[in-house]
Symmetry: D2
Subunit: 333 residues, 4 copies
């Protein structure tokens, strides 16, 4: 088999939890995991991310009302720690005409906007000054998002900027099931290390908080994940068939991802041949080489994404509204 | 009857054709009238408008396909005269969530955006550099529209700015049936003479072209117009009843607005009492005093406005696309 | 002045409160008025309405959160009395592409739909069987709404039908400020007395409840109302100027509609001439004759209608959800 | 490796071209392929499809204007053959709130509706009678789509029914790049052979034409396709490296799908191990078993689907408009 060149290969992920190995991951509620992580300069360079504090909240489906409420409670606690200012610009990044991208614009549309009321006197206690902005994407507007944003920030002079964006994940398991909060700033539609397009404390002079949820995953990841699941299921079934439980339940009814199974190297090579001898990153690089020249390295989203994004935007917006305007939280609805 | 104080009274109109008496109004096609007008400094002050060149195109319903094509041909000719630049920022003013306000945003959404392609080399001949921006309104975003716009212009550095906006008219007859083009700049959501919020050649250093179509009229105008029509119809019928035609056609079937009738002063006073002794402006001021304290000085729009605005936005956008990107005009669809 | 023929003239109103004089109108909460009315066969014929029970709830602006909650409480109490069935078809009448018409479609879109769950077993206690239908309008679909509806009802076999529709009012004062509930059925897009198109208990065999809110008013009513207000204000000011209060407050700051003033006949004729000698209905018929031949007998809506309809649809839908699925009301949000 | 039970396994496809092997596939324009196929009773049973005439048009991306025009020309020719009636009901199947599903509703919204005009007399020559219907999906409305449709058909009594629907494909290569036309009728949201829910000539008494475009593909297919591509690329590169061309072009720049390469059995087993010894259908069944118990057998769509569906809906609607109303085709725009 040909050599796989990992140098030029990078599956896009916007999640720190996928870029580094995070040790401490607490289960703060049943099924809800939180990790708080400080990415220092040295490690940041290694993973092509920006240094800063990253909080990752992982959960199951928010279409369940009970679970939705729990996630909201946790989000409120951890998001609170990042807020530091009485005048906030909330930015909804992304293309409003692309379903998986619409998280940011939808969220800020639900924010209770107050800044224009200050013209008539100071705001009521329990409310802070808020404004929103939806810059669109360059392909839609022709304007460079980063430059537009810097100008809006310079003009509005907020004490903090909160950016909401749909992210890409490397893994099916995280899509619509992870919220990442970071104080490292953002670089709209681009790589890392470009001071010209970066929106961060260093470049705009006020804290820039980024809240993101992965809504897409690329086809390469779907394929590589599935290959991995195949081996896990294989190993699980091999082990399971010798247990008593197997007489009662069919193996196919068990979610083997939640079982603790080790995949053995020789099994991998037997089942998958040369493919099985590769590391996960090599497999992804290989499939990337397979799909790219035929134009199929597409990003994929679950079919029910429209509904889920609606829910998640409402989750973010209502939490932000309650934190930025505590008085709102007291009245119901 | 009480004194009517005209000092404090001003029915809002954004149409120069309603603010001054324009002499030359040419019928360039059957049913399509164009006036070109230079408002000088002196007259500008009198009517609280900004000095500049104003072109007004008046037409009938564009839902008729034939008429639509004719209006588009005329618009293209007269709009052409105002264009002066190879790099254009097109701004769609107005609240995207308010139907009569949506003309600007809808129009720029249909513009073929090219500026971001310049990154990959000069544009193909027959295309010019375009970007679009939809600032929203202050009550929605919390940001001061004027300040945001100035920052975007400073950042994009266009050679010309084209602003599309829904206007207010004083008269039912003009709603959705007039296009006004002016090079005098704009003042988003405000009066006249405020250098701080003005977007014009003087304040941003490049030509600022404003294209507007009236989509609303205030209730005061509807009422005053109707009173006026009542008198016109009365006078028409009085005259008509002594003609031979009256034996063949019922008076109620004739559009008396298209007939040439003089309303006599004594008729006015007999039919309308003291109300009939007032001038048109006094009548409007009076009804404004009647409707304001009870909160009914509302702006009104025709019921079918959604459909008509769609048509008009398409008219503006396709004309602008053909003028800014002449190569586009050559391929059909 | 010419003869005004009232025979052929009828300002469209869908509100029973505008068609008959209702005696009992209770203020059930400050600023919220309710009348319950049984229209019998005899009176029904007189006013061209269908006989049945009519409940009218009148209120002020629901954009105020406090007031919204109060109106919802009252609506829930009075709507409850009309409900009689465990299997409900909710119909949202109206053109989804016309802003003032969108109330019905928007409302049913927010209804919690359950009927399809019955396939998997009986519904949980506290939930009833619901389905929704948005027939569109004939000009949009080409289908006769009435016939389509009858077929859907025959197929779904509900125990009750609830139709939500935007109505026309004769008066500015009621637009978006009245909810009418009736058990008399409906006739989509048409007059009265046409058994072929009627959807009612008689024609479909199950109770048909109609919930409507006026969202439009015709230009004739706006004009006639304003003429009426002019006289009220005139009479109020004449009286007020001789009071002590007039030294403290300017007359123009007082909402004269809330004052108790009698308009004298001679004042009317002096101020309005021959116009002042006409009855209200004659004035409307006259203005209808004035506006019709020139194509301006348009329906008008307040400018902020988009936002208000959103609120009202949410009000209706959340109340209906709580009544049809009481279990829902117990969990918050 | 465990036994793979193909009995219970069926990757969903709505495309006849994926269910049977079609011999005649003509390239009617460069890059546009058409096959016309009669599925007889015997074969229909084998592939769980309904018997009838199937026409499949395959093409590349329609975002290219030139290609769009060519595809439209071909579609018009082949669609014409299926039309047989002067009174048509056009049905847009699918959930309007799910992006990949919106093809049907979007298409019928663009149809020129005429049937309601017949009330005023016969239609102008060159126009036929059309009505549209968007039934929604059961989960959204609570109504059984099939039953609703039958009732609407019985009520409107068309001479033909045309149903537009988004389909599922087994293959990435066909998503948004195939139009299938069939006269076999449809079964909304369900399997095959259920006379109760079937909408076809047999059950409704008029021809039922189905036009579909695949907009989704399931994750299992994406994975299996990629495994297949891996082998094709491997085989291609092995062969290519010994050619002269390989010194000029890098293998990774060549779309190997367009090259003629045979995958050898021994290569498959060497590269993929036991996985390589399976047939394509077995691989799909295997991955279905892997993804189903963990809830990841999701349907996937390309990220740019919103834009592409807009284009395709416009393609279908404008072609249908021109065929149903030939007079329309003569006027431009």
């Amino acid at each position: 088999m040909r050599q796989i060149d990992l140098k030029n290969f990078k599956i896009r992920t916007d999640l720190i939890a996928e870029a580094v190995t995070i040790q401490e991951r607490k289960e703060v509620e049943p099924g809800i995991f939180v990790s708080e992580f400080l990415l220092d300069e040295t490690n940041a360079k290694k993973v092509f991310k920006k240094p800063g504090n990253y909080t990752t909240i992982e959960f199951e489906d928010v279409s369940d009302t009970d679970n939705y409420s729990k996630v909201k409670k946790i989000l409120k606690i951890y998001l609170q720690k990042f807020l530091k200012g009485k005048k906030t610009l909330l930015v909804g990044l992304g293309n409003q005409k692309s379903t998986p991208d619409i998280l940011g614009p939808k969220t800020v549309e639900e924010i209770v906007v107050t800044s224009y009321l200050e013209e008539f006197g100071p705001l009521e206690e329990g409310f802070s000054s808020t404004a929103i902005f939806k810059p669109g994407v360059t392909g839609e507007t022709g304007l460079e998002t980063s430059s537009v944003l810097k100008n809006i920030i310079a003009s509005f002079q907020p004490e903090q900027v909160i950016v909401i964006d749909a992210l890409a994940s490397k893994s099916l398991e995280r899509v619509c099931k992870t919220i990442q909060i970071a104080d490292s700033g953002i670089e709209p539609g681009s790589g890392v290390g470009n001071k010209r397009t970066e929106i961060s404390f260093e470049t705009v002079g006020v804290p820039v908080l980024a809240i993101g949820i992965p809504t897409v995953v690329d086809a390469v990841s779907v394929v590589a994940d599935t290959i991995g699941y195949l081996m896990k299921q294989y190993s699980f079934q091999k082990k399971f068939l010798h247990t008593k439980k197997s007489r009662l339940v069919r193996a196919s009814q068990i979610n083997y991802l939640k079982e603790d199974v080790e995949v053995e190297k020789e099994d991998k090579e037997r089942v998958l041949g040369m493919l099985g001898s590769l590391e996960e990153e090599e497999i992804k690089a290989l499939f990337s080489e397979v799909l790219t020249p035929i134009g199929y390295n597409l990003m994929v989203t679950p079919k029910e994404i429209d509904f889920t994004i609606q829910k998640l935007a409402h989750l973010l917006a209502s939490t932000l509204n309650e934190l930025l305007h505590p008085k709102l939280g007291e009245t119901k609805e």
